[in-house]
């Protein structure tokens, strides 16, 4: 545990393009270049966390005492379909319309 885990934290343009694909964002070359520089600076700050030895510390899952919140499994009316479809950029009477997934 420690700094070694953070080796290579500074992100290059190739990694930026990979992450952008994962996040379904299209970046221009210029944006990718700028993103690499900005993220590297932020990651450099974040990297300081690696100085802490926290091997035996439990990660936070929730900040207040609360777990396994359950409710009765009762049928309830759902939102009216036409009201939901009304917000869509493209819909017919029954569902959302999207372009073909392509080849």
């Amino acid at each position: 545990m420690g700094r070694t885990l953070f080796c290579g934290a500074v992100i290059d343009r190739e990694q930026v393009n990979h992450v952008a694909r994962l996040a379904r964002l299209r970046l221009t070359d210029e944006q990718a270049e700028q993103m690499a520089a900005e993220l590297s600076k932020v990651l450099d700050h974040i990297e300081k966390m690696g100085e802490l030895d926290l091997a035996d510390v439990a990660p936070t899952s929730h900040v207040v005492e609360l777990e396994n919140v359950l409710r009765e499994d009762e049928a309830r009316p759902s939102w009216p379909r036409d009201r939901m479809l009304a917000e869509a950029p493209d819909a017919d009477a029954e569902g959302f319309r999207v372009p073909s997934p392509g080849s």
Binding site: L5, F6, A9, I11, Q15, V16, V19, A20, L22, A23, R24, L25, R26, L27, Q31, M35, E38, L39, K41, V42, L43, H45, I46, E47, K48, M49, G50, L52, L54, V57, A58, P59, T60, S61, H62, V63, V64, L66, V69, R71, W79, R83, M84, E87, A88, P89, D90, F96, V98, P99, S100, P101, G102
Partner: protein, 471 residues
């Protein structure tokens, strides 16, 4: 008459309307007219028609400005993003519904940093907000529209949201009061999600009494938000005049933060003297891991955001960019709809969660979060409340930090640790530095909001900060 009405706090106005001495319609008309003449960019939407006015509820018919992050049925709700342009939610956020039911009709929707990501309101998809104290400066963010509206007398009171300082920092920069509640105290249902383990909504008001009055009507468990809790105390208004017997802690690590302006430091030091004069003790305390709070926050909040914002894909709501196939449609819609800062956070979060980096970033940040919460728990064994400046600086000039994301993030360095620990904190105006307001932050253990308000009220009276830009 107008200026006399305008000078009333929301609680004072509610007292008059409830007693039948003031027609709430008169208040509505005054504030609706002022909001309509807003030249700060504080509002994104205003209603054409006045609502039914009812002064019988605890909030007396006093109109409320609502951050655009809250869903309100059939009212444009964009969270400051172009990607949600035209979206009119089919339902209303629980917190807004509760406040409307308690007698605070919605005056309008306020501007904000896109998806609450920002500390200056310059990341709004609909233009920046100007600080009413100096229109060449930022109002803070992300609840900048709500803060500017209250400070400029364009709303009697407002609600905003705070993920890592987004209520407290703009309240500080605009010279008003902002309260971030305990995580779980107020339902998040209908808040457009940014970072779900941190987001909380709360009041932005002219004074501490208004904050306590509004907060008292927001709390409670909501079946629609499984992280919400029954609030363990009854609502009350603050009345303390002294701080006798209270122990205040000043966290050394946070006060040693680089970049705290001398003017901010001077107001803070004066405030600490006032706390002692009011009968409390002040001692230095340690929050050993708080210096890593900002780093942990900028892993956790973007990680959660990257998942929460995956839903904006041009299919179910908001805008869609035309493209020949589905994948290009997703990418184009998101490229066009999101602003630069939102893209930056999505990238940061996606990177931190991606294969090979998860343990080093997200895992480590969740452990830092545990240590920060432990630090606060240990501190509250020794002291009742913790006091810090709210923000290292006063309001900075528009454009001053837009080219440097890290410098912008550092605006929240004193507010983020409390968010990570889920504890409540208030910012109250402590005084002026070079003519600009300086905020002082009081934080307490979970569910100590009314105790915090009591102490803040006594301090507020001692400080006597009555300034607002229009006065």
């Amino acid at each position: 008459m107008t200026s006399e009405l305008l000078s009333l706090t929301a609680a004072q106005a509610a007292e008059r309307t409830r007693a039948g001495d003031l027609d709430p319609r008169e208040l509505w008309d005054l504030y609706r007219e002022r909001a309509g003449a807003d030249d700060l960019g504080a509002y994104l939407w205003l209603p054409d028609d006045a609502p039914e006015m009812d002064a019988s509820g605890p909030l007396g018919g006093v109109p409320l400005a609502v951050k655009d992050l809250f869903c309100v049925e059939d009212v444009p709700s964009t969270s400051g993003s172009r990607i949600l342009e035209g979206y009119r939610p089919p339902y209303t956020a629980t917190s807004v519904r509760k406040l409307v039911d308690a007698g605070a009709p919605m005056l309008g929707k306020t501007n904000m940093d896109e998806f609450a990501m920002g500390s200056s309101n310059e990341n709004s998809g609909y233009g920046p907000v100007k600080n009413p104290w100096d229109e060449s400066r930022v109002p803070g963010g992300s609840s900048g529209g709500s803060a500017a509206a209250v400070a400029a007398g364009l709303a009697p009171w407002a609600i905003g949201t705070d993920t890592g300082g987004s209520i407290r920092q703009p309240a500080a920069l605009c010279g008003i009061v902002g309260l971030k509640p305990t995580y779980g105290a107020v339902s998040r249902y209908g808040m457009i999600a940014f970072a779900s383990s941190l987001d909380q909504c709360g009041p932005l008001t002219r004074d501490v009494t208004d904050a306590a009055l509004l907060f008292g009507q927001m709390t409670g468990r909501d079946p629609c938000d499984s992280t919400s809790l029954d609030y363990p105390a009854d609502p009350r208004l603050p009345s303390a005049e002294r701080l006798d017997g209270l122990r205040f802690g000043v966290p050394k690590e946070l006060l040693d933060t680089e970049g705290i302006e001398p003017g901010v430091r001077a107001v803070f030091d004066t405030t600490v003297k006032r706390i002692e004069e009011l009968g409390a003790t002040v001692e230095e305390i340690a929050l050993p891991h708080s210096g890593h709070g900002l780093a942990a926050y900028y892993v956790l909040a973007p990680a959660e955001a990257s998942a929460n914002l995956a839903r904006y894909d041009g299919v179910r709501f908001g805008i869609r960019a035309e493209a020949p196939d589905l994948l290009s449609m997703y990418e184009e819609t998101r490229a066009q709809g999101f602003g630069d800062e939102v893209k930056r956070r999505i990238m940061l979060g996606t990177y931190a969660l991606s294969s090979g980096y998860y343990d080093a970033y997200y895992g480590q940040a969740q452990k830092v979060r545990t240590k920060i919460a432990d630090d606060f728990r240990a501190a509250f064994e020794r002291v009742d409340l913790i006091v810090t400046p709210t923000s290292p600086t006063t309001a900075f000039p528009l454009g001053a930090r837009t080219g440097d994301p890290l410098a912008m993030y550092l605006s929240d360095v004193l507010a983020v640790p409390m968010s990570l620990a889920g504890i409540p904190a208030i910012s109250i105006p402590g005084g002026l530095a070079d003519g600009l307001p300086v905020g002082v932050q009081l934080a307490g253990p979970a569910f100590s909001e009314f105790e915090i308000c009591d102490a803040a009220y006594a301090l507020e009276r001692a400080i006597g900060f009555g300034d607002l830009p229009w006065k």
